[in-house]
């Protein structure tokens, strides 16, 4: 019996030691975009932040599978800064009191829907639907329902919506709030609601396929998904591999750092 309690004490001590070691991240050393030179920068693999971070002088880029892991590493002092999309950064800052964003933006970019290169017809249809939704004000209402000052009601499909054309598979990476994330069993976010609205216009049933971010474009390329909607920024490299719809969000990349003490 005595040995058992000794073992328990040993384990408890080990856990307590581990907990203790988790406080006290190093001081923030990045106060402007220029400060990024020679620093360790966390990114999510395959994002535009990943590409651009590679151009920073003497910068060391750590490619995480998820933004949440990169932010975790930032909080623990494993990286000095994270390059991340503005709207998603705001969500992370809202949930983590120990990180902040630099006032200076890092790079401008805009999101669009990715479609297989041989499916120009779907591209035309989606562009038509997006234009209609924009004119009606639905797009703005959807955006406001997630990150506006007053969060309005979320988009709901009309009950008698046409579903005659079958399913439209959307590849996404549901770890990117407010554009796409999970709430219980459901997928929510601006991209999700926007695609539901597009499908309601075009007569499709939306089916969401959640995967790693760097698999989204390959999924569209290999016809595993009809569209890739994952806060995908339009870049020249990507344009060689997929068609893009009209841009639906203009945003920019920001630099996330630890809060100054």
């Amino acid at each position: 019996m005595r040995t058992k309690s000794a073992v328990c004490m040993f384990i408890a001590a080990a856990i307590a030691g581990a907990m203790l070691s988790s406080c006290g991240a190093p001081e923030n050393t990045v106060h402007s975009v220029d400060d990024l030179k020679g620093k360790t920068i966390g990114v999510q693999i395959g994002t535009t932040g990943d590409t651009l971070a590679g151009d920073i002088e003497d910068g060391k880029v750590e490619k995480y599978n998820k933004y949440s892991d990169a932010v975790q590493a930032l909080k623990q002092g494993k990286v000095d800064a994270v390059i991340i999309d503005k709207d998603t950064a705001d969500v992370f800052v809202g949930k983590n009191s120990d990180v902040q964003l630099l006032d200076e933006g890092f790079a401008d970019e805009s999101y669009a829907i990715a479609i297989n290169l041989d499916n120009a017809e779907l591209q035309t249809q989606i562009n038509g639907a997006l234009a209609e939704l924009d004119k009606e004000g639905t797009l703005k209402a959807i955006k406001d329902s997630y990150d506006g000052e007053e969060k309005g009601e979320r988009y709901k499909s009309p009950e008698n919506a046409d579903r005659s054309k079958g399913t439209l598979v959307m590849a996404t990476n549901a770890e990117f709030p407010p554009y796409e994330s999970r709430e219980g069993d459901e997928f929510v976010g601006i991209d999700v609601d926007m695609m539901n609205a597009v499908c309601d216009k075009l007569g499709y049933q939306l089916k969401i396929d959640d995967m790693a971010f760097d698999s989204v474009i390959p999924a569209v390329q290999s016809h595993k998904a009809d569209v890739g909607v994952a806060g995908l920024s339009v870049t020249e490299d990507r344009k060689k591999n997929v068609l893009f719809s009209d841009e639906y969000t203009v945003t920019h990349l920001v630099v996330m750092v630890r809060k100054d003490k």
Binding site: T3, K4, A6, V7, F10, I11, A18, S21, S22, C23, G24, A25, P26, G42, I45, G46, D50, T51, E62, K63, Y64, N65, D69, A70, Q72, A73, Q76, G77, K78, D214, I217, P218, Q221, S222, D237, R238, K240, N241, V242
Partner: protein, 229 residues
């Protein structure tokens, strides 16, 4: 896109082959050091457990070893890796490769321990009794009589454990280590062509494993020649 064009895009442009070369080095580095830790840990645990079984000594250590085996063999290595990186070394500035070496070493140790324990238990108890009745201490009997015989039985299984470990390190990418698998993923994320990066990563692993398997089979042949049983 033709094969040569695709080859050029995936490996030559922007020196992308370097992701694979550097990744391979990292993978080998992690594997070699993790194997060393795993062997040391595994032998230690196996000896503790056998000593308890045969003599009834070291009971507290045996309990700790049993907990270690249960926890490590009962949880996936990815989860262990993430726990060691994000929980245990939360704010400690430590190289990620070292984290991976520790995680895979601790993981492999549990499997090595069971292999070695099986080997020791397979040596006839008469050997131990003979050694003791000749006046050798338990430690000396273990070291000079039992372990050498056990080692011969378990060597092939241990070598196989190294092969398994090499492949398991492919999850190191979870903590942003650019190992061989992640190297392929990085190329894929830049060129968006899945075929060549994935196939070449697979071929590289395969070639290393085939080489190791060849070494194991030679080892087995040598051991068979020397065996008198």
């Amino acid at each position: 896109m033709g094969f040569s064009e695709s080859f050029k895009q995936n490996f030559i442009e922007a020196d992308r082959w370097k992701y694979l070369a550097d990744g391979l080095l990292t993978t080998l580095e992690i594997t070699v050091f993790a194997v060393l830790i795993g062997m040391a840990l595994g032998f230690l645990v196996a000896i503790v457990r056998c000593t308890y079984k045969k003599t009834g000594k070291l009971r507290p250590l045996d309990i700790i070893c049993r907990i270690y085996l249960t926890v490590i063999r009962g949880t996936p290595v990815v989860v262990q890796l993430l726990i060691i990186y994000f929980v245990i070394f939360a704010s400690v500035p430590i190289s990620k490769t070292l984290v991976a070496v520790i995680a895979f070493g601790i993981n492999s140790g549990a499997y090595v321990a069971e292999i070695v324990r099986g080997g020791i238990m397979a040596v006839d108890n008469g050997q131990l009794e003979a050694g003791r009745s000749l006046g050798l201490s338990y430690r000396r009997t273990m070291l000079y009589i039992v372990l050498p015989q056990a080692l011969r039985t378990v060597l092939p299984a241990l070598a196989n454990e190294c092969i398994v470990l090499l492949k398991e390190t492919s999850v190191a990418g979870y903590i942003a280590i650019a190992d061989l698998t992640k190297g392929g993923d990085i190329i894929r994320s830049q060129t968006f062509s899945p075929f060549l990066p994935l196939i070449s990563v697979a071929v590289i692993y395969l070639v290393i494993v085939m080489f190791l398997t060849y070494l194991v089979s030679r080892l087995e042949r040598r051991l068979a020649v020397n065996g008198r049983r």
